[in-house]
């Protein structure tokens, strides 16, 4: 395998995507296109949070939507009930999500990874019921409408992210910082350790790794990014209601991660950006759109379970195969 220093390729890709992001608002003022861009960036971070726990650590978590919803409710409540800023709301959202994630993970992992999947799904379903029925706090099915746009105050001057263009740049900063942070984590020793646990848990254990603690780290980290992206998302759509826990979101991020390739970074970013734009092109009634996502999920699992990353790997392998066979001939 001859690869020219991978670091520079990564830097180049990152720079290209960032530059493309910066240019977009100059190309179009249409709030429709900017909205698509904003949700594409937020959902890519959200999907990447699933990739941390599922792709890298090998723990299929259906709680990501639960944390995303909890994060958005916590942030909304901090702003509307406690009079905090959205930034304080996001910090609170991250803390609550991490705490909840560790609690649930610690309980579920006592049995098995299988139990974790089931508990994680039940968590999301329960949170949705709470949002609907705990009316004193969540305002029930009506949700909490009229969330103010995020703003930064410099003394007297207040800068509000109330226009689509400004929110687009806010989302761009959020996506860049979050994906950058996730990149650092997954390429560090933490990421390598998680991948090792995924591939051979027994081996990892025998080498003295505290496997459960590492899994909890992945679960907590993933929940934080899910909660943050959820919080930012509801301040963009300006309302949070129980639909934030919809299985639709689970499906979207699963499709993104599986089509991208479990445990890969750039392919998941690319598929995240592409797949969130897709439903806008397929302008169909809601139910049919959901059905098409369901079909895509089925096909992805059946036909290309390793995703874009797997296909790319296969192509690279095919390209290198003739080289090895000539080498064999020479021998």
């Amino acid at each position: 395998m001859t690869r020219t220093s991978p670091v520079s390729w990564n830097a180049l890709l990152a720079a290209l995507l960032l530059a493309a992001g910066i240019i977009v608002p100059f190309l179009t003022q249409s709030s429709y296109f900017l909205t698509i861009g904003i949700s594409a960036m937020i959902f890519t971070v959200f999907a990447m949070s699933l990739n941390i726990v599922y792709g890298y650590a090998g723990l299929l978590s259906l709680a990501q939507v639960g944390f995303w919803g909890v994060g958005s409710y916590v942030a909304a409540l901090v702003v509307t009930r406690l009079g905090g800023s959205i930034w304080e709301g996001m910090i609170a959202a991250a803390l609550v999500a991490a705490g909840g994630a560790i609690l649930i993970g610690a309980a579920a992992l006592r049995l098995s990874n299988h139990a974790f999947v089931i508990v994680s799904l039940c968590f999301t379903l329960l949170m949705q019921m709470l949002a609907q029925e705990w009316i004193d706090v969540t305002n029930g099915p009506m949700g909490i409408p009229g969330l103010p746009p995020p703003s930064i105050g410099f003394g007297e001057a207040v800068f509000s992210f109330g226009t689509p263009t400004r929110f687009f740049y806010l989302a761009l900063v959020f996506a860049t910082v979050s994906l950058g942070a996730i990149w650092i984590v997954v390429t560090s020793r933490v990421g390598k350790t998680l991948r090792m646990i995924k591939h051979d848990e027994t081996l990892a254990r025998s080498l003295g790794l505290r496997v459960t603690i590492w899994k909890l780290v992945a679960i907590a980290l993933a929940s934080v990014f899910a909660a943050l992206s959820g919080a930012l998302y509801v301040f963009y759509v300006t309302i949070v209601d129980p639909l934030i826990f919809d299985v639709y979101y689970t499906q979207v991020i699963l499709v993104i991660v599986i089509i991208g390739g479990l445990g890969s970074f750039w392919p998941v970013v690319i598929s995240g950006l592409l797949i969130t734009v897709l439903p806008e092109i397929l302008r169909t009634p809601n139910e049919l759109r959901m059905i098409s996502y369901g079909v895509i999920l089925l096909l992805a699992v059946l036909i290309m379970p390793t995703g874009i990353a797997g296909l790319a790997g296969k192509m690279r392998a095919r390209r290198t195969t003739p080289a090895t066979s000539t080498a064999e001939l020479l021998q």
């Binding site: 139990a115 039940c122 029925e133």
Partner: protein, 297 residues
């Protein structure tokens, strides 16, 4: 007053628990025998309810006739789809494990079913009028509506049948054998595919029965399956994953507990019990209340 109220809640809870049992045992059966998780289980129950909603008016409201048709249709359908399902699930080494694959595939399926039904029938709450009279048996001050009585009676008959099937018949014993020890079951010549198809069919039939008995009791929407799935999963974990008898016992307990709590406290608590119970069991006795031995994996 309070005592009689409690008694009434317990009676209602037993019926709800029996229905939970029908749904949860199907899930436990699949997990125990095939090591697969079915996220579309709730949607299958929901599908049976909508099928009833279509069939009952066609048969002039006759509940028992519709019930029989739905259950037979479910059995046929189950047997037909089980082959394809198994083919889809079979995974080569190096690919996704069967557990993970089953989970993702059934998740996709559940979304397709949920939105398909929502597209056809809309999300408007449905009510089916059947020929079951609206009265109730009264025992002192405790009332048991005819709908509840029929649901409870059907569930008890099904459980008795299931128990006899699993313990007395050869095909039922084969199912248990595979659940207990797959390799040994292969060695004595059991056909794993046949056993698997039987388990899937049985599970789908249990879904159909569960859906059909809910019809006279509740007004329902397409999302009903999701709430049922949460309960069924919690029951399966509490009872010990794959333990059918454990699931049935826990289901009964959960039904009664929910009913009693719902009578005295906020509805929020009623729905949280299943989840809290599951977390509590995982912390104290992770293998489940009725597991004989710890099974890791």
């Amino acid at each position: 007053m309070s005592y009689e109220f409690l008694l009434q809640l317990i009676v209602n809870g037993i019926v709800v628990g029996l229905i939970y049992g029908l749904i949860a045992t199907g899930l436990a059966l699949l997990f125990g025998i095939l090591h697969i998780v079915n996220f579309a289980h709730g949607e299958m129950v929901m599908l049976a309810m909508y099928a009833m909603a279509v069939v009952v008016p066609l048969l002039g409201g006759s509940y028992m006739a519709s019930f029989a048709i739905i259950v037979i249709a479910a059995a046929l359908l189950g047997w037909l789809v089980s082959g394809g399902l198994l083919a889809a699930l079979s995974s080569k080494p190096g690919q996704m494990a069967i557990f993970e694959k089953s989970l993702l595939l059934t998740l996709g399926l559940s979304i397709i079913l949920l939105n398909g039904v929502q597209y056809i029938f809309t999300a408007t709450p449905m009510m089916v009028t059947t020929d079951i009279p609206t009265g109730a048996f009264t025992f002192g001050t405790v009332r048991l509506s005819y709908g509840h009585a029929i649901a409870g009676a059907i569930a008890i008959v099904i459980f008795a049948g299931l128990y006899l099937f699993l313990t007395r018949s050869n095909s039922g014993r084969a199912l248990r054998a595979v659940a207990q020890n797959r390799e040994a079951a292969l060695m004595i010549g059991l056909d794993p595919e046949k056993v698997a198809r039987r388990a899937i069919t049985l599970s789908i039939v249990l879904c159909a029965v569960g859906g059909a008995v809910l019809i006279p009791l509740y007004v329902f929407q397409p999302i009903v399956g999701q709430a049922l799935l949460l309960k069924a999963f919690a029951i399966v974990i509490i009872g010990g994953m794959g333990n059918v008898l454990g699931a049935a016992v826990v289901a009964l307990g959960l039904g009664v507990l929910e009913s009693v709590v719902g009578g005295f406290a906020n509805i929020v608590w009623q729905n949280a019990i299943a989840f809290l119970g599951m977390i509590l069991v995982l912390l104290i006795r992770p293998q489940g209340l009725f597991a004989l031995a710890m099974r890791k994996g």
